[in-house]
Symmetry: C2
Subunit: 325 residues, 2 copies
């Protein structure tokens, strides 16, 4: 039930390796994390593209929200306090039934609401025009302040893996939208309007060995954390925190749990914690947070999976890397 | 010969106004500048798109160089020392005769050379895939350090406008490429590989009232500086610093000077300086820098143009805003 850590050498992977060679400054920390460190600041940049990270039919307000939220989720994983953001807005063709600029106005309204919600000052950025027919590409650089950010590679042997948030909701929502583009409800909202767990991240940061946000699927992201920490990881499907909406839509069998563990777009937090600290740490988290110990770090390499006591074969794909649809 | 300051309400302008309303934190400084300020740091983000800011046929290495250089030019205008950058790389289809990923590898090589040249550590960023057929969109956030950055809106009545660098080279190079895509030489290089004037910027920053880089054409950018400073501006075409290569290619008549004053992509520095400080400031600049007093700030609004002693009617377009070609 053990497989090597992911090493799919896609073009993206090859380019990331090239980038790692280039990013040799200490502040880049080998690009192991999603953030760079500069003075007491952490910086992250996420770009989303139409037809890749969101559906062209998604409400523009929700795309604006999502761009802010996915960037803030990277800051949450460092326990950082948001201090500012730069926006890159590439203007595209007006969709059917919209005036020129209307999509962008509505997108900016979504950005504004998210910035307001999380007290993120918009500091600047760039606005460019795109050639006709080009999919929109939207980027944000978010900057946060933190004293001593946990890294992704600090996991220690014997650490338990605490997951804060829920898994699978966003991908279940995307599946609903694929069936019916007018679908709505909790799961669709989870896909369109993820919530960055900033408060939980700030609390966790003080007590954990390693932390990251789960954006590409729990199995893939946990395997990454284990790999850079020089360890193996065991994940228990039976322990996944699943929302009521998820259970109602997808059921509670192994297939549903595998879907939740590999879906991506969760923006949950995954933290490696000394087992003796677990009780204290969970008591400090907001009481309404969904949270669960989903596995642990052990000696060795790779990832293994079980469902309660039963070993489970690893799925072919450990997670969801965003690709054009 | 006086016209109101530019107020072409394109979609981009309208969206910029919306962004200004949103960016109400002091650190954003009303988006008057191309940079944001955050505790001793300045941050800038520039995005370039295939078919808008560069030609699809341009060597990928030169596109990588250009992305770094245009961002560093914003830092130069603040007299800032580059301290790091985040890269946003959207992977596109392989052009004819290239393998998948080859364009990006070569682009990254250009980024690496520029980072090396200007001592800019690459700290992180994001790599995404684009849908088939989508033009590439490439972004960079550059971060610099500076004590007391000159703003764009600090110009004072009576200030002389010193331009450091040359004008028109890049647009003359682009015109050569439009005639013959195999064109080469100084002007083509100026278009493909602009040089950020970091050393000159650091020197000027200590002595000027206002500074900006000229990226959209001298007339348009000078009018912007005057407008935000609450003043009018006079520009003298006879005074423009033009390179030997430019003069050889375009001649030295009024048409050539108007082309140079409105072309864009110059990445020269434009500084508003007290006239009594001019001699001292120019003596401090690197002796090989091309430089000239191209005009001055006066009371009033708008921009006026002359050629030596002769008043000149303003051209229909004051500058070049990058648009899909």
């Amino acid at each position: 039930m053990t497989a090597p850590a992911p090493s799919d050498k896609s073009i993206e992977q090859q380019l990331l390796e090239r980038l790692r060679e280039m990013a040799d400054a200490p502040a880049a920390a080998g690009l192991v994390d999603d953030v760079a460190h500069l003075g007491g600041l952490v910086l992250t940049h996420d770009t989303i593209a139409e037809g890749v990270h969101y559906r062209p039919e998604d409400p523009p307000e929700s795309v604006g929200w999502k761009l802010v939220a996915v960037n803030l989720s990277d800051l949450a994983a460092k326990g950082a306090e948001p201090t500012g953001a730069l926006l890159s807005l590439a203007i595209g063709d007006a969709p059917d039934k919209m005036l020129p600029g209307e999509w962008e106005e509505r997108f900016l309204a979504g950005v504004a609401v998210a910035c307001e919600s999380y007290d993120l000052p918009l500091l600047g950025g760039d606005t460019i025009a795109l050639p006709e027919g080009a999919p929109r590409v939207l980027g944000m650089t978010a900057i946060g302040k933190c004293a001593d950010a946990p890294k992704r590679d600090g996991g220690q042997e014997g650490d338990v893996l605490l997951l804060v948030g829920t898994l699978g909701d966003a991908m279940a929502g995307l599946a609903l939208l694929a069936e019916d583009e007018k679908a709505s409800g909790t799961l669709v909202e989870a896909y369109r309007r993820p919530v960055p767990l900033l408060a939980a991240g700030r609390t966790l940061a003080l007590h954990v060995h390693a932390m990251m946000d789960v954006s590409d699927g729990l199995l893939l992201d946990a395997a990454r954390m284990a790999q850079v920490s020089g360890l193996a990881v065991e994940i228990d499907l039976a322990a996944l925190p699943l929302s009521d909406a998820y259970l109602a839509a997808r059921g509670d069998n192994r297939e549903a749990r595998l879907f939740a563990a590999t879906g991506g777009d969760d923006y949950a937090l995954l933290a490696a914690i000394h087992p003796e600290k677990l009780t204290k740490v969970t008591s400090l988290l907001p009481s309404k947070s969904m949270k669960a110990v989903v596995g642990r770090l052990v000696s060795g390499t790779g990832i293994s999976l079980r469902d309660g006591d039963a070993p489970v074969e690893l799925p072919e794909r450990l997670g969801h890397e965003h690709r054009p649809q």
